[in-house]
Symmetry: D2
Subunit: 344 residues, 4 copies
């Protein structure tokens, strides 16, 4: 079968790879109808996340179940399903607590041997371990393009809002309007936000956030702190989401949050960072950091997609074929695409 493989720095190739086969009782084989290129794929593309040459990449997918092991009971052959971007064992200590994102035995699709040695989803077919936990039937009314977001980007956005403790009636700021940030705007409104400040420097992304109902704030052309204060009676927002992952947006998030509010850091932080923790301490803030617990949220996210309360369709900027993967990566890397869907 054809599959997109990593070939070294900024090189991907469509290659012929062996067909996946069922091994464990809770395995499934999925015919991938829809996959996508994600920001995390660029970390691989640029060599920041080490992946073996020839490894199939990709971790977002919707497809049709072709085969299942004996223990699989949540999905069946022929079902259209969406997959989460990683698996979990369901029985280790973190899983027992419901922290599937920190599973001691988890595997991430398409991230090489150091993250579980699980071949990726930018391929014609895919082996999915722990299918009962990882796969979900897609409701009929939800398109594959939209459903695909439930397994990664929208699940991550939902996590940012939910782990951030947002309550109905709260105000929210979203820093960084990439796919996760834009989805977080929607997740905030879906959960009852009365006002969402959406902050970025790219006009198109600000416009899209505004089209979702957000109050757009240009990071450099406007004074976000002043605007947020003016709109919140001087208090600041209940929840500030950093969807970037650098010290500057985190510092801004800290300054935008109200006293005893929350900063939800969903952007990928790395190493040591210098941030104004003195201010965070003075305000009594909670900083809730980390990768998303997508498996815990996927059912709620699918329900919200089906209900139309979340709709990431406008984020899909490009449809390309699997064979066009090299161009897709170039395009995405050049920041000329918001979300590229790949179909076989």
């Amino acid at each position: 079968m054809r599959a997109v493989t990593f070939q070294g720095l900024e090189q991907v190739r469509v290659e012929e790879k062996p067909e996946p086969e069922l091994v464990a009782g809770d395995d499934a084989i999925v015919q991938v109808d829809t996959s996508a290129v994600c920001g995390s794929d660029l970390h691989i593309y640029h060599g920041r996340v080490p992946v073996e040459e020839g490894f199939t990449i990709g971790h977002e997918f919707v497809g049709t179940v072709l085969a299942v092991g004996d223990d699989v009971d949540r999905v069946g052959i022929g079902d259209r399903v969406v997959g989460c971007f990683h698996t979990a064992c369901a029985t280790c200590t973190p899983c027992l607590r419901g922290d599937y994102h920190r599973c001691a035995n988890g595997q991430t699709f398409g991230h090489g041997s150091h993250l579980g040695n699980l071949q990726g989803a930018q391929a014609e077919r895919l082996l999915v371990p722990r299918a009962n936990l990882t796969l979900r039937r897609v409701p009929e009314s939800v398109s594959s393009d939209v459903a695909l977001f439930a397994g990664d980007v929208m699940g991550t956005a939902f996590h940012a809002i939910s782990y951030g403790g947002m309550r109905s009636g709260d105000t929210v700021a979203i820093l960084g309007l990439g796919p996760v940030g834009l989805c977080a705007v929607q997740a905030a409104f879906a959960g009852g936000a009365v006002q969402v400040f959406a902050i970025d420097t790219v006009a198109e992304r600000l416009e899209m956030a505004a089209s979702f109902g957000a109050t757009p704030l240009h990071l450099t052309e406007q004074d976000a702190k002043k605007e947020v204060r003016a709109a919140t009676g001087g208090a600041g927002v209940d929840v500030a989401v950093d969807a970037v992952g650098n010290p500057e947006p985190l510092a801004l998030a800290i300054s935008l949050a109200r006293d005893v509010g929350t900063v939800s850091g969903i952007g990928a932080y790395s190493g040591r960072m210098e941030v104004p923790l003195g201010l965070a301490w003075l305000k009594g803030l909670s900083l809730r950091l980390g990768v998303a617990n997508v498996i815990a949220h996927v059912d709620h996210v699918l329900d919200l997609l089906e209900a139309g309360k979340l709709d990431p369709a406008p984020l899909v900027s490009h449809h390309m074929s699997l064979d066009q993967a090299p161009e897709a990566y170039q395009l995405y890397d050049a920041r000329e695409a918001l979300k590229i869907i790949l179909t076989p």
Copy 2:
């Protein structure tokens, strides 16, 4: 000034009463522009809640601040304000925990001496103690009819959903579509409910719930349990709200809730009740009961009203003058009105 007074069983009268006067430093005097007749007023009307003859009744109001004591700093003279239906001292043990609805020193407007001896809001003018805690400025874009709901009915509905632990993406059932139940439909959707089952026997109320997005279920002509199960994959709803307060709806709420779900009992329970607690135990349910903590919610509710996420305007079925109060009570008692607004 003119005021509506209780005069004995099913008798109210508009009488001349003395003008209210500031006493404590945190008192305010409000010129009542908008008041309303509430379900609780009927308890007085029918003698179920004992109120002295000649006592001014009513506890829902929007008005204009005429005078304030030295310690009042959250509202000022000339402000259009909405009031909560009761006061709280803010310093007793329940208040210190944030349980303002169980304040040891609280007073309820218009409920006679046994609930704090505080004259009611169906009057031209009103003394409001603890004004910093009880009064809120009404945002300019919110009509007085709509704002009035924040101080009682919508605050109660918001409490039913919030205390019920509803999360974004949940399913909800509302039993009883009086004003509180109808507002709870809105509060559930505002907070991210994906489906709200609205259950009653009155066609008009079911229609109104449907117009808010709910799935109407006729209590006697449909099998609510079967319908809810079918729509939720057999699981039941995450949160079932009993907005009636009798054993039958509570029993149905218990049967509609999913395992380890919540039943939020906001309807006024009385005395001993026989309910299927065996089933509730088997399911591991939480039954969260009680009157609403309106003071804790009023800011969020006003923000949601201003954002248009909540809009009780369709519930206002009648506008009448204060002088028509006797007719208003008869109309409301005959269940011919959903919400009657009184203006001077």
Copy 3:
């Protein structure tokens, strides 16, 4: 091998039964060193819970792992382990939420075909499915008698306190001083209770509760409500645990709880019950009902046992051999034993 089997109303017998065999990859076989008779066993004994004749009963056990399937990685051959009283699949919707006690595919040991058709633990050897989720290594310093409680009685007591939302510094009332109630006294103190009122009619049980630090209150010879009020400044307790499961103790729990407090109903409720929900509503109580989520708690409970913060050893009133099971059941049924440990 020898095993205790149900033989009809108030009849148990030690019989020869076939040896258990590994079937699934996450199965284990345990050599049972220590089992026990539990209050739930009496429901079977009296025919209230239907179990087939000849079915092996018992669900509390500590033993040594004899064999494991390929997927078992949390315990190994030779480990001394304690088991939870039921299994869970870890992947159904309730399990995904962490509600292992409401698993759609769970099996309870020794409760016949209607609760999963899983042979019981009052036997020489036992098949344990889902061993990764169900079995835990016993810390060296914890005796088997004590460890056994982690899988059922102490786990249930811990759940009553934890699900009841008890916080450090709270006051608690425990109604009913059977094994679960007595363990709940310990669990409350372990979690920071400042005062625990222990209510029963049996002098020995009141004395044992007092030896754990509780304030004993004789149900009929003292006025529990008056005593609790006097000791709590009129407020009532933060958490009231009903460890009986009848309307009377639940009614008393409701009257003992403080405003906006919690009643934790861990006793087995059945059918319809008439209770003062009017009072519960007036107080704004949460009633948190249900069987315990022992799997979710077992690690914390074992840690507390190892730390000596919980110590159910005084509850063990009898040690008998497996062959004496018929006498053990008679003794327990006659309420002459608090906890009977069976050894091969």
Copy 4:
């Protein structure tokens, strides 16, 4: 009356100051029987917190009520009372949420005009505004030395544990064994910690922590990370408390916390700090920062002191007279005292 006043860098003096007088209805005058020198006082002493020359300092006190305004109902003349280190208005938005430590109108005793212009407690007598919120009767069995901790140091320690989300059965690490850190060891055990790692470099403080039941770890002579991992099966602690407030202990706290655990930062952070947020993000940590909400905790802390579950008596290293305040400050500044109690 005599009072300890700030006189410029590292200078305090006992001076004659005017007697306090009742102004507002909720004021009280307290005869200070017991006050203390606190770490915060050193910030003033060293000029890091600006206080006017001649301002009376001190914010920890136990005393006897001499006079009360008309609105004071929680304490009365002659009561022995403990005070919280700051006041709160109870009606601003943060107070309404229960965040008394971020009150918009709060005043801190003895911190000069920039923190509310409220004269301090190292004096013979003290004006206490908002007495209903700030003062509590001391239970008879609790000594004044011990009760004094409820209003600041122990309340802060309790907050660190409680805001850190510690649950019964958890493991905890405390970094920094000053008075707050040592009290946090006790607060952790009181709330059900099974193991508390106490980390510092001072042998006496490690010994005291060990005497409270903690596992002492010498910061430089032992490898805290390695020891904690070994003792927790590689997982790390559920809650890591930084009671120092510098980047190094915060970094260590991040490395000691388990996945999806909590770091509770109670030490005073200042300005920008460089910390390993990449690791915190990878682990999915919550960093809960800030000054303590002592008013919210004071009743629970007093109950725990009365129950003997908390006992800071061993921390009192010196008793001195008010007139010896200059020596007391020198001693404390030289780190030769753990807690100095001042009596008139």
